[in-house]
């Protein structure tokens, strides 16, 4: 009940209405979301491959991580912000969408995975920093991370296909031949 009210007020907010009423804002926000997530994924792959001993093995793990992870976090901030903006436009639909829920669950698991790494293997980084691969626990975290993020990408695409979340334009002079383009694929 409370959730339903919250979702409804999100959808009715000036921000959500503004995005829905614009022909261009949703596509722009979604494009930036994809840009952010490709940077998140691409940079995380670099760190995970290093942990697995599959790439950058001649550099200390800490050197690779300090080069890359700050960009991962910046890109994640962009992705989360744009994701939240898209969510507000159609909050009720997304909230009840099974793929959306599964995607959020994988993001939570990914956060737990990162936290587990920080609290355990990372604490002893000095002892394995220059080794080609991290200890077994570190490689496990890296493999899990790759699986989870690939899962996030797939589920994100399925959210798009199953929720038909395009903004409903209120523009009255919209060309009829453009209507078919409004359902994102």
């Amino acid at each position: 009940m409370e959730i339903a009210g919250l979702l409804a007020s999100l959808e009715a907010s000036a921000l959500a209405t503004g995005i829905r009423n614009s022909l261009y804002l949703f596509p722009l926000i979604e494009s930036v979301h994809v840009l952010g997530l490709t940077m998140v994924f691409g940079t995380i792959v670099i760190v995970d491959l290093r942990l697995l001993g599959l790439a950058s093995t001649r550099r200390p793990f800490s050197a690779v991580a300090s080069d890359v992870l700050k960009w991962t976090w910046r890109a994640f901030a962009v992705t989360a912000t744009t994701g939240l903006l898209m969510f507000t436009t159609n909050a009720g639909t997304y909230y009840h969408n099974a793929y959306f829920r599964a995607k959020m669950a994988l993001l939570v698991l990914s956060a737990i995975n990162t936290l587990a790494f920080e609290l355990t293997v990372k604490r002893s980084v000095r002892s394995w920093d220059r080794n080609a691969a991290a200890p077994a626990a570190g490689s496990t975290v890296a493999a899990l991370s790759l699986v989870l993020w690939i899962g996030v990408i797939f589920l994100g695409r399925w959210v798009g296909f199953s929720s038909a979340s395009a903004p409903a334009p209120t523009d009255t002079d919209i060309k009829i031949e453009n209507l078919e383009n409004l359902v994102p694929k």
Binding site: L23, Y24, F26, P27, E30, S31, V32, V34, L35, L37, T38, M39, V40, F41, G42, T43, V45, I46, A55, S56, R58, R59, A63, D67, V68, W71, I150, I153, F154, G156, R157, W158, G160, F161, E177, N178, N181, L182, P184, K185
Partner: protein, 172 residues
């Protein structure tokens, strides 16, 4: 192009993709993961040129690390991209975003190939003089912007109406 797209959409391969609903989102997901690898690889080489990352590595070492992943991911993009064109030819081939994107992909790929050739032939010159040239640093920034635009245009194929008459002119 209109006729070609319509012919392509009636081929048996296209029909198989069209009738299996999971194929397009699955191929798109692989495509997105691969562009992530491309973007991050270009990014790391560009950061090295700018001196913002990997300063314990030579440019040659950085390129040796990311170059093969860049080429490999580009091959995955070519295959999955072709599958999407065959599966939804009208959506792709009549979109202004698609052709603009293809132009930028060509530019980005040619720049990467020229860079790799030049680095291989003039390694010392690159590691010393070239890395300090402002024009090379500017080119690194431009290259990254090209690939960013490729990602954005890829998503905009689904919203080609944003180009107004440029989009509809392709649709004849």
């Amino acid at each position: 192009m209109n006729h070609f797209a319509e012919w392509l959409s009636r081929t048996s391969v296209s029909l198989v993709i069209q009738t299996h609903e999971w194929v397009v989102p699955a191929v798109q997901s692989i495509h997105i993961a691969a562009i992530g690898v491309v973007l991050a690889s270009v990014f790391m080489i560009d950061l090295r040129i700018l001196g913002w990352a990997g300063r314990d590595q030579t440019l040659t070492e950085t390129t040796a690390r990311f170059g093969p992943w860049l080429s490999g991911a580009l091959c995955v993009l070519l295959v999955t991209g072709a599958a999407m064109v065959v599966g939804e030819p009208v959506r792709e081939l009549l979109a202004f975003s698609f052709w603009l994107k293809m132009g930028l992909v060509a530019i980005g790929t040619v720049v990467a190939l020229i860079f790799q050739r030049s680095l291989g032939r003039q390694q010392v010159h690159w590691e010393t003089a070239r890395l300090n040239q402002q024009s090379i640093k500017a080119l690194a920034v431009v290259t990254f912007l090209v690939w960013i635009s490729v990602v954005v245009l890829g998503r905009l194929i689904a919203y080609d109406y944003v180009w107004g008459s440029w989009s509809t002119s392709l649709k004849g």
